[in-house]
Symmetry: C2
Subunit: 372 residues, 2 copies
Amino acid sequence: MLPVAAGFGGRTSWRRWAALSRARAGCRAYVSGEAALYRAHGEPEKVISVEHVQMEQPGPHDLIIKFLASPINPADINMIEGVYPVKPATPAVGGNEGVAVVEHKGRAVKSFNRGDWVIPARPGLGTWRTRAVVPEWDLAHVPNDIPLDAAAMLAVNPASAYRMLQDFVTLLPGDYIIQNAANSTVGKCVIQLAKHMGVKTINVVRDREDLDSVKEDLDDLGADFVVTESLLAGKDYAREFAKVPKPVLALNAVGGPSATNIARALAPNGTLVTYGGMSKKPVTLPTGLLIFQNIVSRGFWLSRWTENTAPIDRDTMIMHLASLIREGRLKVGPSKRISFTDLPATLADRSRGKVLIEFDDDRFAATKAYIS
Amino acid sequence: MLPVAAGFGGRTSWRRWAALSRARAGCRAYVSGEAALYRAHGEPEKVISVEHVQMEQPGPHDLIIKFLASPINPADINMIEGVYPVKPATPAVGGNEGVAVVEHKGRAVKSFNRGDWVIPARPGLGTWRTRAVVPEWDLAHVPNDIPLDAAAMLAVNPASAYRMLQDFVTLLPGDYIIQNAANSTVGKCVIQLAKHMGVKTINVVRDREDLDSVKEDLDDLGADFVVTESLLAGKDYAREFAKVPKPVLALNAVGGPSATNIARALAPNGTLVTYGGMSKKPVTLPTGLLIFQNIVSRGFWLSRWTENTAPIDRDTMIMHLASLIREGRLKVGPSKRISFTDLPATLADRSRGKVLIEFDDDRFAATKAYIS
């Protein structure tokens, strides 16, 4: 059995953890579980394996948490590949997001109780595992009266959508925004959160065979307009949207011509926020758009926001998003659920969509957390 | 003789002026002069002609001003070509910048006296002419104890350099900035103003035969580093500048790979400000630079700044720049002086550099301003 560091991959290196472990002479690790481990960076399906591991003995500020569900996000993949700007020391546990239940708390733990639902306070925790021993400051609360799916997926995609609607432009009811990749999880959250704010959305989706059903889905969430990339790129867009107020904010997860086109659609002084680059093409803006239209081009990275934000402010956002979920105003769900044992096979599937790993397998119920 | 509107080309159309003129029945225009007129947009050397014109009779709030010197700026050319976002109604007088002396003031004029030096308060005045009749609110003061060249060229290039150093990033002594087109008039002003602020400059210039003499010129102005575009584009830049703090501000007048490369050279959270596009290529930023490095890409347009600024604040800036010129800290000069009659020939010369039109020709001294 392989001991696994509990802390943030990017912060407490494996080497350092091993040193700490050795220093605590006489400690016996007696919490164990299954974890999706990688020992080297590379293609996730090749480097990830689900293994039985034993964990560090919990200290007075530690919790033992049992994961309930964890999504697969694009950043998780990039981090395993080693192409993400945060590169955890290996061996590391995959996954950065997920919801867990508190099974045990150390005697000095003040903020959490047994049975509480918790989520990682920052990226890097390693959420693709059945159990973890984690210091309390690495966790945050999430209400346990919302659907498990939503709790597991709240902290990354809905939070990103929420921040991008809050942090760049003061959006007033009646304002317009435009976004590409509108059919992504973030895109769908943007539609719903904007609707709640009274903000109108122009939603750009790829030209596709199932366009009608995608349009219907987005309409159901409250999309005001759904347009294809090819319509946006041509002259018809200007004609069709001649009487629609120009958007003040554009959200870009694609790059390349798509990013240029949503920037062109902006009102003067508008802001283009880039949070993804699905086309793997850079963001290109004509000089005149910058100089004469005063378009501002910025980037958004949730990890940076989290890093620069007081825990109480993040908690407030999580509670707010949870309340929107509770009220039925914000729906967040995976397109596919898998059992933890299916993780390696799922990672090999490039068309996987938004996947939620569920840890309710009997095999994992047998995982032990002996606490005296 | 052709009557010419005195006001801002973009604001008071020719048609409207003619109507106003007709309305003032019995008025006789009795101020005349030579003006570089264009009746249609097109190539400047083809559409501009220097003609003798008569002007509207000055009203109580008007001044008669006699131009002393006016530069040719790139925006002047673009405006005549009709490719500038501000497109004056034709016939219009070329030129947006220049210094004039007050010859006569209307009885209600409070801010100016005979003999004062004045500059346009905004773009669009039409400065390529010997005399103009202008309402006082279209003019601003410039001190008349600085060199005429500097006074004529203060309001556009040095002002742009000054604003870009003031308005985007709080620059502290010891901070670094990077700019391309460092050998331009704006570039040279940036070097001198940055030096005065204690800010270090990395100056990118095109690879060229006279590189040594360009380097020497920029060194003399106070440049900390001068590098070529090809050095910046290659791997040597990172090695050579490994121990130099990364710049917090990048100023781009070129676009294309040059803009991308100065953006790449920025420190995290740095700002790229685009104020020109000499390469006619757009500004392209890798997605990661926006998301993970948090680089902000913005545009600067002096006309917008002027439009949004109280006259007193612009006056304050002009006085400050004039004081730097007086102290010898800021040197601004044309690379070539021409007589007004040579203007059409000069416009045809693509390699003209920074040209200053001087109006001291005997022929123009004979231009009349009869005031009772």
